[in-house]
């Protein structure tokens, strides 16, 4: 979408921080690990010292052996793949629908007047309330699960995109008008880049909700998936398995969010944001 103009300009010096940049770049995520790691360590020591039997709240070592056991039997991969593909498909569908409807409703006032009230009304329904209906309509297997996730993803993406389009600065649109951009060119060269930051945020919110809803979906009768591990652990009284599943949820959820962030970062390099000013770039 950008039109590149090559010029023989001297290379712009990259700003240098006082310390070695690679050091700060490594140290920053480690800082975030400090709290959870020391809590885990403290709990491990408490159980090890016999102050607690750790039956209901298993110590980290027990959780790790559980994960290792699951991994060795190949079960873990199966559960992860199942859950990931549910989230992936649901997220894809939700994003597609949210983007399409959000784009149309943001751009055309008529469509917004026609469709938006209905969507807002549907949004007021707690999404879990759809579960019985989805099961009746779509059966107990994959389709209803994916549908629930897609519904969860749809709303933040739709809202984020319509909101972003409506709040595009009129002053910048006028720049496009002065250069007599046609409708499609205005969308491609002004609206699209202008809404991108807010859209990326809504994608990340959507992904977060997708992970939330996959658990709900897998609670409603699944035979595999991380949510199934949770239910199974509860029914068979295996707290270590529950915590293991939770830990894996956390790791994969964070990893997918991080991937999304990485994938979109090149598109948002131009942003003059608070995060950049405080040196988090």
């Amino acid at each position: 979408m950008t039109m590149t103009v090559e010029l023989q300009a001297p290379a712009v010096a990259t700003p240098q921080t006082a310390r070695a940049p690679w050091l700060t770049r490594l140290a920053r995520p480690l800082l975030g690990l400090l709290l959870p790691l020391s809590l885990a360590l403290a709990w491990e020591l408490l159980v090890w010292a016999g102050w607690s039997n750790g039956r209901l709240v298993p110590p980290p070592s027990k959780v790790f052996t559980t994960i290792a056991d699951l991994a060795r039997s190949g079960e873990l991969t199966r559960h992860i793949v199942t859950t990931l593909s549910r989230v992936g498909i649901g997220f894809g569908l939700g994003v597609a629908a949210g983007t399409l409807l959000g784009g149309i409703c943001g751009y055309w006032r008529m469509a917004r007047r026609l469709v938006d009230p209905t969507i807002q009304a549907l949004r007021a329904i707690p999404s879990i309330a759809w579960v019985p209906l989805f099961i009746l309509w779509l059966g107990i297997f994959e389709t209803s699960k994916v549908a629930l996730i897609a519904v969860g993803v749809f709303f933040p993406v739709y809202l984020g995109l319509t909101g972003a389009i409506l709040s595009v600065d009129r002053k910048i649109v006028e720049v496009g008008r002065i250069f007599r951009l046609s409708g499609p060119a205005m969308i491609r060269r002004i609206l699209l880049p202008a809404v991108l930051p807010a859209y990326v945020v809504s994608l990340r919110v959507g992904l977060g909700l997708g992970w939330m809803f996959v658990v709900a979906a897998e609670f409603m009768g699944a035979s595999e998936g991380l949510g199934y591990l949770l239910i199974d652990g509860q029914q068979l009284g295996k707290p270590a398995q529950i915590v293991a599943a939770i830990v894996i949820f956390a790791i994969i959820g964070k990893a997918t969010d991080w991937l999304l962030e990485i994938a979109t970062a090149p598109l948002l390099r131009w942003q003059d944001s608070f995060a950049r000013q405080s040196g988090a770039a």
């Binding site: 103009v5 006028e174 720049v175 942003q271």
Partner: protein, 261 residues
């Protein structure tokens, strides 16, 4: 020639922003429009730019009525309005997307050079100072080689030194291709430094109050006594335009005509 005929603008909320404004502006002329806040200067400029339609009256450029943004008319706003997602060079080349890449590159490079920002080509707009950003905006408007360039208080957000610098700069750029400049300003000195004619407007509703021809040769010496006289003249007219007891002045002075005092 840019011709404004009885341009009138009533906003939907009933505000009478502009009342029967007429003016004739020759190619290559520099016009300054000055007047109190809210007297319709921006409204007038937006009508000429084709961004807003006048309620009545017409704006024509070489006989062609302007109802939408016109390829020969450029505008520089009070804020730079750079697109934050494009580098400085891409911002300047924004309006040239129809040209072949090589020519576009060449023209952008020349424009960058002209405003003294050749080293900022690859920089994001957020990394520019206010004055630099406004210079990029000037380059972006000029690179399209408009016949008429409208400027709505382009330097008002800048400090006095940068402002003076950019005024001189604008004159240099103007001397290159001699476009028509229509400049809205609050700064009497700016008007007298730049303009061939100063149009003083008065509010409620916004209309033309007085027209003052500045027949000083360029480059103009800001410290010359005659310069001061013109400044005082504009200032007095401005004062009188805000005084409601003074009736609308009608007298138009011919270029080279005597001063009224």
């Amino acid at each position: 020639m840019l011709q404004l005929t009885s341009v009138t603008k009533v906003y939907p909320n009933g505000v009478h922003a502009l009342e029967r404004f007429s003016a004739e502006i020759q190619l290559g002329e520099i016009i300054a429009i000055i007047g109190g806040s809210g007297c319709g200067k921006s409204t007038l400029l937006r009508a000429v730019a084709g961004l807003d339609r006048a309620s009545a009256g017409t704006v024509t450029l070489d006989g062609e009525t302007i109802t939408a943004p016109h390829p020969k008319v450029g505008i520089i706003f009070q804020e730079p309005r750079l697109l934050p997602w494009l580098t400085v060079a891409d911002n300047i080349g924004f309006g040239l997307s129809e040209l072949p890449a090589a020519e576009r590159r060449e023209r952008v490079a020349r424009a960058l050079d002209r405003v003294g920002l050749a080293d900022k080509a690859k920089v994001w707009p957020r990394e520019l100072s206010g004055g630099q950003a406004q210079r990029v905006a000037i380059a972006r408007a000029l690179v399209a080689q408009p016949e008429v360039l409208l400027l709505d208080e382009p330097f008002s957000a800048l400090d006095a030194f940068t402002r003076k610098d950019l005024q001189d700069h604008l004159l240099d750029l103007w001397a290159d291709t001699r476009p028509t400049l229509v400049l809205v300003t609050h700064d009497v000195e700016e008007a007298v430094v730049l303009a061939d004619r100063v149009l003083v407007m008065r509010p409620h509703p916004g209309r033309l109050f007085e027209e003052i021809t500045i027949n000083l040769s360029r480059p103009r010496d800001r410290n010359a006594p005659l310069f001061d006289q013109f400044k005082r003249h504009v200032l007095t007219a401005l004062d009188r335009s805000l005084d409601r007891t003074v009736p609308d002045a009608q007298g138009r002075r011919e270029p080279g005509g005597g001063l009224w005092w």
